[in-house]
Structures are given as C-alpha cells and as structure tokens.
C-alpha cells in the first residue's frame, strides 16, 4: 500500500514512530497528484514547494523531540474559500482569480499550528454556490469513481481529492450540504459541525448564518482528528460558541448499544432513489443489530426547508457578495463609463450565472414590499424547523437519513435545470437551517459502483455522538473503497 492511500491516523502513528518522514509522505501525495490530477481536476492551486518545506520542518522538530499534534506532518487540502495567507484564494471565481489574502483564516492558523502540511487549494462551485462543482469559473472537478460524473458540491474538490488520494484529509465548507453531499457522491466521510463550533473567520462568506467549515476524510477517525484541531471558540467570530470542545479522536468509541436512532419519514419519500433509500435502511438495520434502538419519527416542516434555505442563503449572499465591486481588490471590468457602469460591468463579467442568479434572488427577497412575504417567513420557518428537531432529540440521539437522494449524476446533466440541481440538497439543508451537526458516511455502492451516503444528524454540539455512531457503522461496513483511476 502506498503512503498516499493510508489514513491520517495510521500515518500519524508511522510519523510518530519515525517509520516514515513527513517529507516522504508529502512527496508521495504530490506524486499521486501528478499521476491522477488531470483526470480529477480537484485542485485550483498547488502548494508543493511550501508543503515540502513545512514537512521537512515538522520532521526536524520531530527529530529534535518536540511534542507534536496528531495532525503534524499530514498533507491536507483546503477548499479555496478558506483564506490562506500568501496563497491565492479564488472561491473558484473570476472575481477573485488573483486574490491573495493578507491574513489566515482562524482554521488555517489552527491547522498550521498543529503542523498540517497544506497541499493546495481545492476546486469548488463559485463562492460555494452549487451542488456539482460545475459552477467553478476555472474547471469542473470529476468524480474519482466515474470521471464522467460530478463529484458533488460545493466542496467537490475537497471530496474528490480525498477520494482520489490526492490529499489525506481536507477542509470543506457546508452551507446547505456542501461537505456532506460531495462526501456522499465521492464515497468519503464528511462532517458538518454545529454552527458556532468552528470559527468562520477567514471563510469567504456565502450565507453567514448557515456557513460552517468542516473536515472530510477517508475514515471517521481521520475526520475526528481534524475536527479536534479546528473546533474551538474564537474571539474573532461573534457567532462562535464559547464552550469546551473534546478531543473527538481520542474519545472515539464504536459502542452503540442503546443508541436511539430516529428515521424521519419525510426523508424517505418521493424523489429518493429506491436504491439509496434501501441502502440507508439497511445501514440502520446493521446498527440495530449492534444494539441501537430504531424509531420512526416525523419532521413535518421538512417540505418547506428547501425554499426557506434558498431564501435565507440567497438573501445573505446578495449582501455578502456586494463587496466585490471592483473598487479595492479582485476583478475590475476593463472598459466602463463612470462609477455605476464600472460596478455593473465588473459584477456582470466577474460573476458566473449561478452566483448572479442567487444575488438577484436574494436582492429580490430583501426588497421593500417583499421582505415580509419571503425573508421574514423563511426565518419563521427556520425557527419551526429547529423546534421540530429539538423536540425529536428528546426521544432520539441521532437521526438517520440519506445524504443525497441519488448517486452522482453526469457532468452537464442538470446544468440547465437549476431547480433540479437545488433538489439534490433536500436532505442536507435542514441541518444548516437548524444549525445542527451532521455526518455523511459511505453506506453502499450502486450497480455502477457509485457510492451512496448515510447521513446522521445530531443535536447541537453532539459531534462526539455522531462520530461514534458513524465509527460504529464504519466498523461494520468496512468503510472507504478506493476508486480505480
């Protein structure tokens, strides 16, 4: 087995015992990138030179006997909407094609302090708006299980790079499913943490009240390792929750005897592919055999979640993306006549169609005369959806659903039908609306060999419960299967 194929926790032990060096491991990952990247197109920017340098420094520190974190020396890919000081951060947009942040996101400071080796910046849907990574200004990323298909999105690069072993683990961001959905399509594990548990400082905002950074990996333990590093209160983010965060990896436990699992009937109805539905039910049955107690539940407002999500996220996006006006940084149209024309041309030429669609939608729902009918109502629904979840969590510990209604679709298949594209988020958006944590773990492969994901949703700040449940299931299912590339 090549080094690049191994899981982070195994590599961590090998590094600790000095069986391998980080430089060796990092070179192995970059060799892998060189051999498969032209098929996958996961990266927008490679950071090879710096990565090798960091790896060597970590090796030196280790030889000197320094106390290092579990993540020290592990190659990690970063979604391109997380600010990396001195390293181009494009959000896969023409608007920020040459933007180099002068500061690090809080998670990047944490990753760097933990000794993570940054392989590069990963492709995504422009400004994280999309479900297939086809909305990248630069290129679509391909699903390593079938390169004719999409890897999901918006963190398509984060999921595909991990699945293709072009990174050991990665960071993505999840506003409506953007970590879990590509994790499901690419057969990897993705955790969307509780809103407020990971600092958003330096994450280029899409929808501030929904965005959350989280880890992707080839196994639950790797994801837990990264989450242990990035979770924590941050004074730079007012919405960051002040509390103690455990070492999730150290506390990982596969005992699910007595775990109460809820199956919400609304997540298994119309639009859910029968194969996916059956796979999720089978997975839950396996967990039941290990002692879990399964119960059917109802979350009646689920039907309204998607429209609430698109109203709230687009409203916030229309404001968050207004700063890209060509005045101070980023793209500016070449020819213009006066200030307003400069704004119009810059934004017309600098943003892609999907981004413009959401900005228009968001601008509309916030407009005077429409605010009450759309935004205010969506916020009311948000409260109701959270209330329904909260009351269910009195009776169950986790809620199990499909992550996505289907397995990965073909590149170009849904690009002309935004509504069909939006519908792929149906099982994931409620989690963001309610600010809850959720994890996607691979649970089956269809007849084409494409992975499907099991989503486990927990109450706020119950990441440990989710990780334990996912870990238990992974122990049964065998976990990640490496795609042929």
């Amino acid at each position: 087995m090549e080094l690049y194929e191994k899981n982070a926790w195994e590599l961590s032990e090998m590094l600790k015992s000095k069986e391998i060096s980080s430089a060796e491991l990092t070179r192995s990952v970059f060799d892998r990138i060189k051999s498969v990247e032209d098929k996958v197109d996961a990266y927008l920017t490679l950071n090879e030179e710096n990565a090798i340098e960091t790896a060597s420094e970590i090796d030196k520190k280790r030889l000197a006997g320094d106390q290092l974190s579990d993540l020290a020396g592990i190659p990690v890919g970063i979604k391109d909407n997380i600010s990396t000081k001195g390293l181009r951060t494009t959000c896969a947009s023409k608007m920020l094609e040459n933007y180099v942040p002068p500061f690090n996101a809080t998670v990047m400071d944490k990753m760097t302090n933990a000794g993570a080796v940054i392989t590069g910046k990963l492709n995504m849907d422009e400004f994280a708006m999309g479900s297939s990574t086809e909305n990248s200004y630069f290129k679509p990323t391909r699903n390593p299980f079938d390169t004719e298909r999409i890897p999901g999105g918006s963190s398509g690069g984060s999921a595909a790079s991990v699945a293709a072993c072009e990174a050991v683990v990665s960071l993505g961001s999840d506003t409506g499913g953007s970590i879990r959905q590509p994790a499901s399509y690419c057969g990897v594990v993705g955790l969307k943490p509780t809103y407020g548990s990971v600092s958003r400082y330096g994450l280029v905002a899409f929808a501030s009240s929904l965005d959350q950074i989280g880890p992707l990996g080839r196994c639950v333990k790797d994801v837990a390792m990264v989450q242990s590093v990035i979770a924590g209160h941050d004074g730079m983010d007012a919405t960051s929750a002040y509390r103690e965060y455990p070492d999730y990896a150290a506390a990982l436990n596969a005992d699910i005897d007595g775990l109460r699992i809820g199956l919400p009937k609304e997540y298994f109805g119309e639009g859910i592919d029968p194969f996916v539905k059956q796979s999720v039910l089978n997975a839950v049955k396996e967990m039941e055999k290990q002692g879990a107690v399964v119960k059917e539940i109802s979350l009646p407002s689920t039907d309204y979640a998607l429209s609430s999500y698109y109203i709230i996220s687009s409203a916030e996006a229309s404001s968050n993306l207004a700063r890209y006006d060509g005045v101070r940084y980023g793209f500016r149209a070449e020819n213009y006549d006066g200030l307003v024309d400069m704004y119009e041309r810059t934004r017309s030429e600098g943003f892609g169609d999907e981004v413009k669609r959401r900005i228009m939608l968001g601008t509309f729902v916030l407009s005077s005369g429409f605010y009450d009918a759309y935004y205010k109502k969506a916020k009311l629904l948000q409260r109701r959806i959270l209330g329904e979840f909260t009351s269910q969590f009195r009776d169950v510990d986790v809620i199990a659903t499909p992550t996505v209604p289907t397995t990965a679709f073909k590149i170009g298949e849904n690009t002309d039908d935004p509504l069909k594209m939006y519908a792929t988020d149906i099982c994931t958006v409620t989690v963001n609306i309610a600010g809850l944590p959720a994890i996607s773990v691979p649970c089956a492969y269809d007849e084409k060999g494409l992975p499907a994901g099991l989503q486990l949703i927990g109450n706020k700040f119950t990441e440990q419960t989710l990780l334990n449940a996912a870990y238990a299931y992974e122990c049964i299912s065998g976990g990640f299967r490496k795609p042929e590339l």
Binding site: F103, A105, Y201, A238
Partner: protein
C-alpha cells in the same frame, strides 16, 4: 411663523463616539492620521472577515439614551443597510433598523427664555464610512481613505418638534454640550465628529403638515440654520406660486447658500435592511443599564434652567457656566456651601476667573482656587476685613498658591482699619488740614465729601474702612 406659515423641523444628528478603538475591529479610532494607516482586513471589508462589537459603543450610546430620557431596548439587533459606494468597503453599513438601542426620549431646551421640549425618536449605533478624496492632482481619479471606516457613530433622530431655525440651533448646541458632558464625543465640527441631516416642511396654521424635504451635507450648526432658512423660503415661494412640494433629498451648498435636489422619493434607494447575521443580538442586563444611568451627571440644559429659576442668573451667564463642565461643577460646589448668593460667586467666576483663564490659557483645574478659599474671600470682603480692591489682590494669590486667605491678608497688610478711635483721629487730622473743603461741603458742595474721604484713605495708607470713614466724617462735619 414665517410669512404666515408654520415651520416644522426634524433633525438627524450623527455623532462620532470617541472610543479608543473602532466599533467592529481593534483599529485605532483617531482623526487626522496618515491616509489608510488605521485600517485592517476587517474594516477594509476583505473577504472572510467578521465584525465583533466593541462593547464600549453600547455603553456610550446607552448613556446618551439616558441623557435624552430614552427608554433603553435591552435586547436589540444590528442590521445591514445595503448600498454601493466606493467609501463603503463591504457595500453595506452595519446599523440598526427596526429596533434601536434607545428610543422615545426628549430633551428640554431654552429658546429666548422659554422652555421647549423636543422629542427624541431614537438613538441607534452604526459604523461610519470612509472618505473619498477628489483632487485635480489625482488626474481625474478619485481615491479613498478608509481610516474612518468603522468609526462608531450614534444617530440621534428628533421628532419634528422644532418650529424655527433658531430652535434647531439651540437643540444642536444642547446636544453638543450634552455629548461633551458625557465625554463620549469630541464634537469637532471641522473634523466631522458631529454632522446633521435636516428635515423641513411648512404649512398654514390649522392645516395638515406639509410635505418634507431632507437636506444632506450640512456641515456646521450655522450651516444648518442657513440651510433651514433657505429651505423654508424656498418651500413658501413654491407654495405661494401655486406649486406643490415634492418629497425629496436635497443637497445643501453652504458656499453658494442654496440647496439642490439630489433625488426624489421615487428614486429613493431600497437599502434592503436585514438582521446582521455575523453578530449576535445585543443583550444588556438591566443592572448594567442602571449602572450607566448612575454615571449621568446633571446635564447642561437642566443646569441652565436651574440656574435661571433657582439662582436668578440671566440666561447668558447661566449658559456660559453650565456649558463648561468645570465651571458648572465649581459653581455648584460654591452654591452648595449655602453661605453666599449666586451673584457673589458669578461675579468672581465670570470676572476675574474667566479673565485669568483667557489670559493664561489655563483651566480651572490648573489653579489653586477652591469653593472653600473663594468663600473665605467673600467672607472677609463682606465683613469689611478687606476692601474690594484688597479682595482682588487676595484672589490673584489664591489662584496660584494654596495659602489661607487670612494669611495672605496678614502678609500683604490688607486688613482694613475699622477701629473708631483710630479712624476718628485720622478724621480730625484731615479735617483740620482741609478747612476749605469742610466749608465747601457745609456750603452745599456735596462732592467735597468724596475728596475728604479720599484724603482720609490716603492718610490711612488705604487701610481705612471707606464706609466707616465716610460715616465718621459725616458725623463730624455735619455737627
């Protein structure tokens, strides 16, 4: 009333708070530093940055709320006001829309001796924008200075309760002195630390309110007066000519002395306010609200009224003393001694003290003057231990030296002679030597008396009690 029209004025005042750092980042909040030197990724609105609220701003705004008798909304949100302009890096201003931190207050002002109560609709917190720099030197390009981005502001919105430009002026001056009393704003007009927008309408008495226009770019209180007077005249002449007033935003040009239309109601921007998702709801404990209330001193507008009503000061003197935190504090402490009337102290404060301060540029705190030594001084003048002239000499000393009044009198030999036998002896000598004047007086030339008293004073080397001296002379020559 102007030309048979009732004038209605409402004001929106923006005051920059003088906190150490900006409202949403730790950049220094200071005016006049090098262009774009007081900036960071947050106040420059770089992608991915987030605001965190400076709690001092909330405290300052609540104190102003208390000063203007507002109710404090202990739970309130911050909202985004969305619009594009190159001086606004995020393309939205964080402000407060629906629920302001403070609302439903009032301020009492004194206009031409008459007390007027002006309603305060609301006070909310928000961030300032940057500044555009236009110059021929820039080759047709405009530059932007972002130092002011994120400077904390409070916006104080009045009810349309003012009826003349003079009332508006007094209201503005009153707000300014209150801000200074609270020490929360530098109130430097030339630096733009207080700015105002003016809303004006006119109507015939008994008729409903007229359509208002809003005027921006009013950069001083006197400009506000000129702008209001211009706008009132303009609206009346439009109405008199049979026209109608349209709701619009106008721009005041103080150099030309005219306002011009910026945009009509139809073109009004839709700011698409919505709750700022990057910030938590502001929650202030009742205890904190009360604590802050306890820090509010008696405010100048209240002091003026009290000085006039209780102490009989004229408005000019009352205003002069009340508007200075220092002088008012000193005056109040003097009055608290209950020994002398206001006139006694205001004479010293507005006379010798202000003269000294103006001449030396010193403040009251720089002197050794205290309510105690000033009262001691008044005491020795009243009981005729020293003369008024001697009093001025003592005052000059107690400004600079921490020395008891009695000791100064002794050192300088300023004590007046009131002993009858001594004074009679002087009188006898002087009268004997000035027989002609005595006769003049007896012959009806009453001004000879002054000469005789003067001679006695001279003979006593100025120490004789002039009143008593005069009495004795009168007694002797009147016999």
């Amino acid at each position: 009333m102007v030309k048979g029209y009732e004038v209605v004025i409402g004001l929106e005042v923006h005051a920059e708070l003088n906190t150490d750092s900006k409202i949403y980042c730790s950049c220094k909040n200071q005016f006049g530093l090098e262009v774009n030197s007081q900036v960071c990724p947050i106040c420059m609105g770089m992608p991915g940055t987030l605001p965190t609220l400076n709690k001092k701003v909330v405290d300052y705004a609540i104190r102003m709320g208390h000063a203007l008798n507002c109710s404090i909304n202990r739970v309130c949100k911050q909202d985004r006001k969305n619009y594009f302009y190159p001086d606004l890096p995020k393309a939205y201003q964080i402000s407060q829309a629906e629920v302001p931190l403070c609302e439903n207050g009032y301020v009492d002002i004194l206009v031409d001796g008459e007390e007027r109560r002006i309603g305060v609709t609301r006070i909310h917190i928000e961030e300032d924008a940057g500044k555009l720099l236009h110059s021929d030197k820039f080759d047709g390009v405009s530059l932007v200075d972002l130092n002011r981005c994120g400077v904390p502001l409070i916006e104080i919105v009045s009810e349309p309760d003012m009826r003349s430009s003079k009332e508006a002026h007094v209201y503005l001056e009153t707000l300014k002195s209150i801000l200074q009393y609270l020490g929360i704003c530098d109130c430097k007009m030339q630096e733009g630390s207080i700015r105002c927008d003016v809303n004006v309408s006119v109507h015939k008495p008994g008729e409903p309110m007229g359509t208002r226009s809003e005027m921006k770019n009013v950069n001083s209180f006197s400009a506000a007066v000129r702008g209001i007077d211009y706008e009132v005249e303009r609206q009346i002449s439009v109405l008199e000519a049979g026209g109608t007033i349209v709701q619009e935003t106008r721009r005041w040009d103080d150099v030309k002395g005219i306002s011009t239309s910026m945009r009509s109601k139809e073109d009004a921007q839709d700011y698409r306010y919505f709750p700022e998702p990057d910030l938590l709801t502001i929650v202030v404990e009742q205890e904190r609200v009360d604590e802050l209330k306890a820090t509010i001193p008696e405010l100048p507008n209240i002091k003026i009224l009290r000085y006039v009503k209780e102490f009989g000061l004229n408005i000019k003197d009352a205003t002069f003393i009340a508007e200075s935190v220092e002088l008012a504090g000193f005056f109040d402490a003097c009055m608290a001694k209950g020994r002398f009337g206001a006139k006694c102290y205001t004479t010293w404060i507005l006379g010798e003290l202000v003269k000294f301060m103006n001449e030396t540029g010193k403040t009251l705190a720089d002197t050794k003057l205290t309510p105690e030594n000033l009262t001691d001084l008044a005491e020795v003048i009243e009981n005729k231990t020293i003369s008024n002239a001697g009093g001025k000499k003592v005052f000059a000393v107690i400004l600079n030296e921490d020395k008891p009044v009695a000791e100064i009198i002794k050192e300088q030999g300023l004590a007046q002679v009131s002993d009858d036998s001594v004074l009679e002896k002087i009188a006898d000598e002087v009268l004997a030597a000035n027989e002609k004047s005595v006769n003049d007086y007896k012959g009806g030339k009453t001004n000879a008396l002054g000469y005789l008293v003067g001679q006695c004073m001279k003979a006593s080397k100025g120490k004789a009690n002039p009143g008593k001296m005069k009495e004795i002379i009168l007694k002797k020559i009147g016999e």
